[in-house]
Subunit: 499 residues, 2 copies
């Protein structure tokens, strides 16, 4: 066996262990009784440590060296094995960059901090968690420095690379500067325009959960979800998990507003169908996996935001919703529903934000996490800095930290460098959608007929089937002819909200 | 760290990996869409191989040697660590007895054979699977020989030891000879007596699955099952899985006969509550695990057979069942229900058998698997030998192999040496139940009040809390004052069916 083939066998095992851990996560969120929490935590931790150990065995590094030597000697591998090898090296570099004691300290600190946060958030008690967060941050800084050295880049670039390979802090800066410059005034214009239009009327509930689920399943099938290869369940926070042939998505239902559950389903189905479309030939290999969190988010947002909040889709969905929920009257008309699902309203909570205000939430978090990491912002000044930033960007001031700097789990769980992927994903979604429509102008009309095949044909070929073959910037460029570009996203917003 | 403490850490990881694999099995049987089968097979296989590799690392053997040396030097460990070390050595001996290529060949052969069996059984086509079964058997013989050498015992003893540590072929022979001698004539007497009594009347369905489940949940709570630490679901074959604080039991429902689902639930709850009662101090250590398949079966049978088919329990359950299913009339009276749940009827299918005829099914299988292993019985003669045995033991001749030698998955899946544990478990159940009642004569009356606490107090102290501290024969002796003894089981049968 060549070193490269040995690496394939080794990474195949690592992926299978990763899949096993993912399924245990799904079970913990969807099925597990409370009694299982402790044992489950240990099961997942052991799988993670086994995975880390196999990755960090000296043989893995030797095989990587050997395979790279071989490739040079032969004048290069074929493109897909070459990309697979590149991804293996990247995964290996991240894993081996950190000494074992730092890996453990980081995992313990974020677990302790996250548990405290769960208690402290409902009480809006930042003081009780700030010391633990400071410890998480200290270790995160250490990890960023170690990864920066291993990857030969700046510390924040190294953190970004964990979630969005190929996206640099410089790219994020340029994109976010443009959005921060444009969006506040744009949002004012949208709010003025909305004020001149009839106020949307919320369809009146309650909406039985079982009916909401049936409607969700119906739209999942419209999107192309195959229930022989996946499930829909309920969890506190919607998410998408499972494997390409066993997709597990979840949502949560609000009896008063069916859109919460339904939009969750559409969003997560977008994630799931990306996984389904990954190259089958490269299952369980790094190059066969999703490209990163930004491209993953682009695939949920292209469905939820670009396609399913478009007027053609609302025209298609309105009578289906009215019939399923037994609704009648103007509240159930496409005009009114379109107004609801494209309403812009600055708010304090990121996960409730519309697509126009969402990037400002992300920009705030990105600025603050960089200041926290650099040490420019002391932990104890975070609540005030958050509130000032919200006022500056969205004109709103939180009354408490629960609705302020404590609202998201990410930092308390040790995920720094993750937030930008939400907005980079939104930008990629706009860009992919435009390129798809340019390539096949029938796509919006097909969506209006409840036919997503033309859109998925383009996405399958230009995004899904490529897995992690290209880096994010190259993937975007190949699919759309241009690097990630905020202008197309802004054009989309203008077209939807001001035209 | 001492070698013993290093072993504890190592076996803790192995147990956590085993738990993870168990949960993936549960999910595959209960939740997984068909598309997930292939990836799931690989996930479970990788976890098994990782577990096997850690176990077979040279360090594991060195640590065992070191810990045993230490123990000798110190004049022995405390009893529980000593028993833990003994169990570690046993697990290690089983794992390292087989060369890697035999482990792999065995796993491949049984997977291929089991898959073929699934196809061939509905068609009753033994010829199409006999070659694959011959290969499974050939490898099983090789494995038995290798394990016999490693464990210093006879080959069939080595196979038994995989499932029922401490139970030898000689013990099985003595017990089974007594049963084979006594039961056929006993069954005739019971049949004669039953013929003189009024024929039982089956309550008339259909019984809605949701109601059956509610009734099942109600009785699970009566038994002491805590739904904060477990779940009840549906699967093709009832089973009990999960971990002590996250018990996952399943049943299947028959709309025409609620007893199928309910008895499945009671049986599996017995298994689950054994796991729950295992010593919490020794979680994830070999000594903290269940003693073996025979003791496990004793804990399901003591609930299903000894307690829940007893007259006091039926008196308690009859009005509850009548109310839940809206039944009325003589079919719902305790007299009639007791006749149904203690009916003896020789049949062709083991899993449908009553407690009096069940051992004869097991005796047949045990005789045949030993003859197959020794080579005395050629594979192609198995169907005829099965049919002759059934006629001799139960007076029935199968019309086809689906109802004959192809009915059970065990052999086709490579499980030789497993069958005896069903009947050894039934014997242990009778013996534990009698000892419990001798120790606390209020137990039957309490069960008649729907109060299982007294029975579980005794089982908890004398069986569950001991985990794998003792070998099966010592455990039985300590709990009941006698080794496994078929006479108590036969006394129980006489008392229930002939008095």
């Amino acid at each position: 066996m060549t070193p490269y083939l040995e690496l394939e066998a080794r990474f195949r095992r690592l992926s299978a262990i990763g899949q096993a851990a993912g399924m245990l996560h799904w079970d913990a969120s969807v099925m597990m009784p409370p009694g299982g929490a402790k044992a489950r935590g240990e099961q997942i931790a052991v799988l993670a440590s086994v995975r880390h150990e196999i990755l960090c065995q000296p043989e893995t590094g030797e095989l990587l060296d050997g395979a790279e030597e071989d490739a040079k000697y032969k004048g290069g591998l074929d493109p897909w094995p070459a990309a697979n090898l590149r991804e293996m090296r990247r995964i290996w570099a991240h894993a081996t960059a950190l000494p074992t004691d730092l890996v453990e300290a980081r995992s313990k600190a974020s677990m302790a901090c996250e548990m405290k946060w769960r208690e402290a958030r409902p009480k809006s008690d930042f003081a009780s968690v700030s010391k633990l967060l400071a410890e998480v941050l200290r270790l995160e800084r250490e990890a960023a420095a170690a990864k920066a050295e291993a990857l030969d880049c700046a510390p924040y670039d190294a953190l970004l690379d964990q979630y969005s390979p190929g996206i640099s802090a410089g790219m994020v800066d340029r994109v976010f500067a443009r959005l921060a410059d444009h969006l506040p005034e744009f949002i004012n214009q949208v709010l003025e325009r909305q004020a001149r239009e009839p106020a949307p009327v919320l369809p009146e509930g309650p909406f039985a959960e079982a009916t909401q689920r049936e409607v969700g399943v119906r739209f999942m099938k419209v999107l192309g979800f195959d229930f022989g290869q996946g499930r829909l369940d309920t969890s506190l926070h919607p998410f998408s998990g499972g494997t390409p042939d066993d997709l597990r998505i979840t949502t949560r239902y609000d009896q008063a507003d069916f859109a919460t559950g339904l939009m969750g389903i559409l969003h997560e189905t977008g994630h799931a169908l990306y996984e389904k479309g990954l190259p089958a030939r490269w299952r369980l290999q790094p190059v066969g996996e999703a490209r990163g969190m930004d491209i993953h988010e682009s695939q949920s947002l292209i469905i939820e935001m670009q396609a399913c909040r478009s007027r053609p889709f609302i025209d298609h969905a309105a009578p289906i919703l009215a019939e399923a929920f037994g609704g009648a009257g103007p509240a159930w008309g496409a005009d009114n529903l379109y107004r609801i699902y494209t309403a812009v309203a600055p708010g304090l909570i990121r996960v409730d934000a519309d697509e126009a205000t969402y990037p400002l939430h992300i920009i705030l978090r990105t600025e603050l996490e960089r200041a926290l990491l650099s040490g420019d912002l002391p932990i104890n000044d975070l609540p005030a800095a958050w509130n000032d930033g919200m006022e500056k960007l969205l004109g709103l001031k939180p009354n408490n930290d629960a609705d302020g700097c404590m609202q998201d789990i990410h930092w308390f769980d040790g995920a720094f460098g993750y937030f930008p992927s939400y907005t980079m994903g939104a930008i990629a979604a706009a860009q992919f959608y435009r390129a798809a429509v340019v390539s096949n102008p029938d796509i919006p009309a097909a969506i209006g007929r409840g036919d997503f095949k033309p859109l998925y044909a383009w996405l399958g070929e230009n995004v899904h089937a490529l897995g992690a073959f290209l880096q994010t910037p190259e993937l975007t460029e190949r699919a759309t002819g241009a690097p990630l570009d905020p202008e197309i996203f802004l054009d989309h917003l203008t077209a939807r909200y001001l035209s």
